[in-house]
Subunit: 300 residues, 2 copies
């Protein structure tokens, strides 16, 4: 296997691009894909203050690394979720990456700052932990950005993540979620802009990126996510991708190009108002995060 | 396993309905589902002259049988496709079913009437046979209906077929195909109405229906279809259905209820005109079927 660019020995093939790369040209490929995503979807302006959501996994550390390589300075925000050893190791990886480079990593500790952990929330809601976890992460990242003057929150959602979420949304025709599944969610009063610069890179490419760049990341999957629906969708999509390379990219980018706008503008009917508890914009009286907190407190 | 209706011994479970049925109540279930599809989507009016596309497989024979049970008289149209023993046996099953009941079965013989078989067409186009086959079937069924005064063509597309086609269409965001994937395609000048009364019944239910009703059908899959994309999609959907019963029905019926209309009205931009060769309405000068015939003739 030879590098498509320089004909030197290749270390990875990218079948959907019908290409293979040596380590150096693979890094160039990753940067190109992120640059293209940013440009194509108008994700960033030169003066933006950018906050990267840093879990300590491969995607978030690769994202922070790639943004720096593209001259997009960004601070990190790490949420400590309280998921036992998994969270401890995630925090260690996030801190080690930031401190080795002298970059700013903010932290929010769900337990110390808000009085509960993700396992607490799952127990209180009797629902899959991923639901309380996603909700908490979205709320706290946005809150941190808004309160500290960041214009943009960049997250490490990759092509595989987006494809799995999209498959779940179309299988149930969740028109509200389809309307909000965008590579860029524009800023609004009380909301920073949300961008996903990794939407053109797959999971496998991001793992390879970290290995080649010698980025030490949390390699374990979250123990609470095992068996969740999105993992099943990822498996299905991997099977289809194997059979027909480019399936995931065509699915996700075809949706952004030709599907997504057909589902927008439906939830503007409900005007937002400040949450009675925390002030965050919400369609109800109390926002979903504060309702979650209240349920956990009740149980405790 | 007991029948959900009468508590007698059940012979089949229908997990997405959380139900099981004895033979008699299973037949009632199938009739109810077809009646509901017809009503819900306004498929038929009392005075309609109905033509059923009868391949000789389980879906088309079950459809003809179910329509008769619901007091919808219909004639059959069988296309002889020239796919070796597979077609011979399909024709035998279709004729046997019709003659045992004294029902009218029209026939069109692709080779004798139009000078080519599906294998000929596949060889001439260098594409998967399913593409030439689908095109020929759509064209000839519609032509027969229009020329012989039938208002409606009813086809045996079942829930699994619709789910597989829909998955293929969303994976590539084929917006034109999504706009036309409807349980009812209204009549238009040169086009009979097309209806799919089996969209609420799965493949497994239709096979069971034929067994219980002692309908002798062509059990072989078409040998030319093996390895085609839709079979892979069906496998994927079977896996998801197994994990979460009701997935296929939610996917297909959610699309009809909340997705489909978002994709309609895009191909009205191209006005239709009569095909220069056969007179069928087409957006080009010569319709796709006549172009296919010309290509096969060229090669011969």
């Amino acid at each position: 296997m030879k590098c498509t660019v320089c004909r030197g020995p290749a270390v990875i093939d990218v079948r959907r691009h019908n290409a293979a790369f040596c380590p150096d040209h693979f890094i160039v490929h990753c940067r190109d894909q992120v640059r293209r995503a940013i440009t194509e979807h108008d994700m960033l302006s030169p003066d933006d203050r950018v906050l990267v959501a840093v879990s300590g996994g491969k995607d978030s550390l690769a994202l922070w690394d790639l943004l720096a390589a593209l001259d997009v300075p960004a601070d990190g925000l790490h949420l400590r979720l309280g998921i036992g050893d998994y969270s401890t190791e995630s925090t260690r990886a996030a801190r080690a990456y930031a401190s080795a480079r002298g970059w700013t990593l903010h932290e929010v500790d769900l337990d110390a700052d808000w009085g509960f952990t993700i396992p607490d929330a799952a127990a209180a809601t009797h629902r899959v932990p991923c639901s309380a976890c996603g909700l908490s992460k979205r709320h706290l990242c946005n809150q941190y950005a808004v309160e500290h003057g960041y214009d943009v929150v960049a997250t490490g959602h990759n092509l595989d993540d987006e494809a799995a979420v999209l498959l779940g949304n179309v299988l149930r025709w969740e028109t509200g979620y389809l309307g909000r599944q965008q590579p860029v969610l524009p800023a609004a009063p009380g909301f920073a802009r949300k961008v996903k610069p990794l939407v053109r890179l797959g999971e496998r490419e991001l793992a390879a990126y970290c290995v080649i760049r010698r980025i030490d990341y949390q390699v374990e999957e979250c123990p609470l996510a095992s068996g969740n629906r999105h993992l099943a969708y990822k498996e299905v999509l991997n099977g289809l991708e194997h059979r027909s390379p480019g399936t995931k990219a065509a699915f996700v980018h075809g949706f952004f190009a030709r599907g997504q706008t057909r589902f927008t503008g439906e939830d503007t009917a409900t005007p937002l108002q400040p949450c009675a508890t925390c002030g965050a914009p919400t369609p109800g009286e109390v926002c979903a995060f504060c309702r979650l907190r209240a349920r956990v407190a009740e149980r405790q």
